[in-house]
């Protein structure tokens, strides 16, 4: 027991490891201590002075975030004087806050607003004019800064110092004239800017990407795994299923990615919205004319083509963007049942698979490289990560089933590759992404579901399995995932 301390939190005994603060203990025990500057992923600043708690036997109130839990300590978080301290803590924060919630994107997920609803709800005692500060400043490629809404919690400054180590932000001037800002004419340009929007407890930082698009209370959140690179950050996708649109991506705390994710990963939602998606089954009809048709017709054409072709002349071109379950189903059918031997990996032409930016983003920009390797090994195929696209082109296959990468963001050669593929005799491109010109020259297309629309799992670079467990309804009517495709094909082929 020497490694843990037991103390009383609101009358009940709590045992925590030595060195924990009361805030950490309270968060674990789901005891709500209101706070602004404390963040699990950052160092303790202790400047908002909002997380006041009363420790028995000490004359002053203490801040929970910097209060080490010691044996036998008695901590009170709900007594009247603590409540009074919280009320005033909030009042001080609101003295110079512009309260422009109606036009603030943070409204609805604002800690200041939430705290007001939780511990405040009183009439303001401030009757004098407020301090005015610069608003609507362009401080980065993804960021808009409103220094008037800022409560100077310094989370953003600490993030720049500790996580990205770019030190792009500072607090200038002092007293109530203090403002957050960037250094002389510089802008924030790194790939983790939107984390600043996330950690900002108020709406001082807003994202250019999401700015004014939607109010947060209309959005549905569903957990997923980012498909931007092999790190496999845990994310939650925010969208409106009744509008069939996605609006933004936020990181979800996990051992894989901590509290953060990169901006590039956040932009994955763009490629999931209907205008970016392959929405139809394209094929040549009886008159040999390309038409956009229905699922049944498209399926039977593909099945017929597969039946009519020699097994040796069928090839699979597989990108590492699908789930483990899909690879399993695909290979089980084509390799094990039909006996196809031409299976090619489809990867980026120029990739540095071991590159790493030091925070999260990896050079392997495919979410499931390891998953594909595992599946290939399982079905007795060579397991070595390499790009076999050219090999596939030269393989002389009459029918190629191409499982396309999902987003051109992480697969910049997609356009070029599809153009080359379309020169092959018959290519069935199974793709979620829509490329208007190339896709029309390809003989046969299958609209796939996006990664947030299917169930399954990705295996990240470390072998951690990230579950896609809570899918959105597909924004494309009739979109299928690979498992469904294989099932339908199996039925049709008999």
């Amino acid at each position: 027991m020497s490694d843990s301390v037991t103390f009383k939190l609101d009358g009940r005994d709590v045992a925590v490891p030595k060195g924990w603060t009361v805030m950490q203990a309270a968060r674990r025990e789901n005891v709500h201590i209101p706070h602004f500057c404390y963040h699990d992923g950052l160092s303790v600043a202790g400047v908002c002075r909002f997380c006041m708690v009363k420790v028995e036997g000490r004359p002053k109130m203490e801040i929970a975030c910097n209060l080490l839990a010691t044996e036998g300590m008695v901590v009170e978080t709900t007594s009247d004087d603590v409540k009074q301290a919280h009320k005033w803590g909030l009042e001080f924060h609101l003295v110079n806050h512009p309260l422009d919630c109606p036009i603030c994107d943070q409204a609805g997920e604002c800690e200041l607003q939430n705290s007001y609803m939780k511990v405040g709800k009183y009439k303001s005692e401030m009757h004098r004019p407020k301090v005015l500060k610069p608003k609507n400043l362009d401080v980065g490629s993804q960021l808009i800064l409103d220094t008037e809404r800022c409560i100077l919690c310094s989370r953003c400054v600490r993030f720049e110092e500790e996580v990205t180590k770019t030190n792009g932000l500072g607090i200038f001037d002092r007293g109530d004239r203090a403002i957050i800002g960037t250094y002389a004419e510089e802008k924030i340009e790194h790939n983790y800017q939107e984390n600043l929007v996330d950690i900002c407890p108020v709406g001082a930082f807003t994202s250019k990407e999401f700015r004014f698009k939607q109010r947060v209370w209309f959005l549905e959140e569903k957990d997923s795994i980012c498909n931007g690179c092999s790190t496999g950050c845990h994310i939650s996708m925010h969208g409106k299923s009744n509008e069939l649109r996605y609006y933004r991506v936020k990181p979800k705390h996990s051992a894989v990615n901590g509290h953060w994710m990169c901006d590039e990963g956040r932009h994955s939602y763009r490629y999931l919205n209907p205008e970016e998606r392959l929405s139809r089954w394209w094929y040549k009809d009886n008159m040999n004319e390309r038409i956009a048709g229905g699922k049944d017709e498209g399926l039977s054409i593909l099945a017929r083509k597969l039946k009519d072709t020699n097994i040796d002349e069928i090839a699979l071109l597989v990108s590492a963007h699908q789930t483990n379950e899909e690879y399993e189903a695909l290979l089980a059918y084509f390799v094990k049942e039909l006996g196809i031997s031409k299976v090619y990996q489809w990867r980026q032409d120029h990739e540095d698979i071991n590159a790493f930016d030091g925070i999260l983003l990896r050079g392997d920009r495919n979410p499931n490289t390891l998953g594909l390797q595992n599946a290939l090994t399982k079905f007795g195929l060579k397991a070595e990560v390499k790009n076999e696209f050219e090999k596939c082109l030269l393989s002389g296959a009459k029918v190629v089933i191409a499982l396309c990468p999902e987003s051109p963001q992480s697969f910049p050669e997609l356009k070029e590759h599809l153009a080359k593929l379309s020169e092959m005799p018959f290519v069935s491109a199974w793709s979620a992404h829509y490329l208007p010109e190339e896709i029309e020259t390809i003989s046969h297309t299958v609209p796939l579901k996006g990664f947030v629309e299917k169930r399954g799992s990705f295996t990240n670079h470390e072998g951690n399995i990230g579950e896609l467990s809570d899918p959105f309804p597909a924004v494309i009517h009739g979109a299928v995932d690979v498992c469904e495709m294989i099932e339908s094909l199996r039925e049709l082929m008999g």
Binding site: G89, F92, V95, R128, D176
Partner: protein, 428 residues
């Protein structure tokens, strides 16, 4: 005079001597003798001498110096001794007087203290407005290096100590020990969260001791004369002498060294020569601007020591006694105090950042005639919620405000009620 208290001159022993700042004068009168004594003892012995002497921090808080030193871990490695010479408390001008008289006393004190805590490097953090004093101290440091009191192997006794001077940029908050450390580190001068305390992790993350100029300057005398000699001066709980800087409409304002426990009115009436003709005493701020004001009846029998002033609900602070005459408008004084704190708040902690601004904002209403009597209560309430809620003690700036409201509420109310016929006289 007829004083029964013997006035020992410790810090002002070089008063009146010509060329008192030079090394030769200092050595002539027993300078650097204490250093030779100290370096032959063990660091622990020095710490216990200072502990026994009962020397308390002269910067304002009055924390026992020996105790502070004993918090420094006894491990090997880099440690720092910083001298807080950033004298910024309004009304205080005692530290510069020490530098004016004998900067070598500070240097000797710092070497001994550094030896006691095991520091290899010291900095004197000086307020940048002390143009002459900076030069004098620089000269003295140069002299000390040349004479072998600083540098490697001091006096051939195997102790190395380097001393340097650093000029602050004139922020009040850098007089707070962790604020001073931040500023010295090259960061924005704002206090650091405690724990960890500077004695464990201070300047550049190393154990650091920060002492006031006056505290460090008293060390050589204590080491030379022993802790009992020091204890013999002053009161039991507040031993020794202290410099008091007294200002206001007085015949003879200035810095006076008196033993602690000295009667305040005696200092005002006799040493400072009493108030100017036609002036009448209205109130006294006993320990710098952040100490609550005292009324004439409070100070009648008040003695100048930490305990007595604390008992009268104020504080000895830095020993800056400010005399407030009858003519002074208390609203003006309040505004002046709050303007100062509003301007000097570093803006780190919310209660202080917003509270000082808010109070100033409300006080503005006193002048544009929009204030009501309720505003006084509101200021009072804000002060109550600011005090003791922040990282450093600047938010205790609320204390003088509370003091003024408590003691001069009637004047504030009548100021609001009088409307147009307001006098805005300010002596200070």
């Amino acid at each position: 005079m007829g004083d029964t208290i013997t006035k020992v001159k410790i810090l002002t022993q070089y008063e009146g001597m010509s060329n008192s700042r030079s090394l030769s004068t200092y050595k002539e009168h027993g300078g650097y003798e204490a250093l030779a004594v100290a370096l032959k003892k063990s660091p622990d012995e020095i710490v216990s001498i200072v502990k026994d002497s009962g020397l308390r921090g002269r910067g304002g808080a009055g924390f026992p110096t020996g105790l502070k030193w004993s918090f420094v871990p006894k491990t090997e490695g880099k440690k720092y001794l910083l001298c807080n010479n950033d004298e910024g408390e309004p009304g205080t001008f005692k530290d510069r007087y020490i530098l004016e008289l004998s900067p070598h006393m500070l240097i000797e004190g710092m070497i001994i203290s550094a030896f006691a805590v095991g520091a290899q490097k010291g900095y004197v953090y000086t307020r940048c407005e002390f143009f002459d004093e900076i030069k004098w101290l620089d000269d003295a440091i140069k002299e000390a290096y040349e004479a072998g009191y600083l540098g490697k192997n001091i006096l051939g006794l195997g102790f190395d100590f380097d001393l340097d001077q650093y000029q602050g940029a004139g922020a009040y908050i850098c007089g707070e020990e962790t604020g001073l450390i931040s500023s010295l580190e090259g960061k924005k001068g704002q206090p650091k969260l405690k724990p960890p305390f500077p004695a464990v992790s201070g300047y550049l993350g190393c154990p650091t001791v920060v002492n006031n100029t006056e505290t460090l300057s008293a060390v050589p005398w204590i080491v030379k004369n022993g802790s009992d000699a020091y204890r013999a001066i002053g009161t039991e709980k507040s031993p020794g002498t202290k410099l008091f800087s007294i200002s206001g409409p007085l015949k003879n304002p200035g810095v006076f060294e008196v033993p602690l426990g000295y009667p305040m009115m005696k200092l005002v009436e006799e040493d400072a020569g009493g108030l100017l003709e036609g002036e009448e005493l209205k109130a006294i701020i006993p320990g710098g601007l952040s100490a609550p004001v005292l009324l004439p009846e409070d100070v009648k029998d008040l003695t100048l020591d930490y305990e007595a002033i604390a008992a009268s609900k104020s504080m000895l602070g830095s020993g800056a006694i400010t005399i407030i005459p009858k003519r002074q408008c208390m609203v003006e004084l309040l505004k002046l105090i709050m303007d100062f704190y509003h301007h000097e708040s570093c803006g780190q902690c919310t209660p202080c950042r917003e509270g000082t601004g808010w109070i100033t904002n409300i006080l503005e209403g006193f002048f544009d005639k929009s204030a009501t009597v309720d505003d006084i209560d509101q200021i009072y309430a804000i002060c109550q919620q600011m005090a003791g809620r922040t990282i450093c003690a600047l938010s205790d700036a609320a204390m003088p405000t509370v003091g003024i409201i408590n003691k001069f509420r009637d004047e504030l109310v009548s100021y609001i009620e009088r409307g147009t016929e307001r006098e805005r006289f300010s002596y200070i």
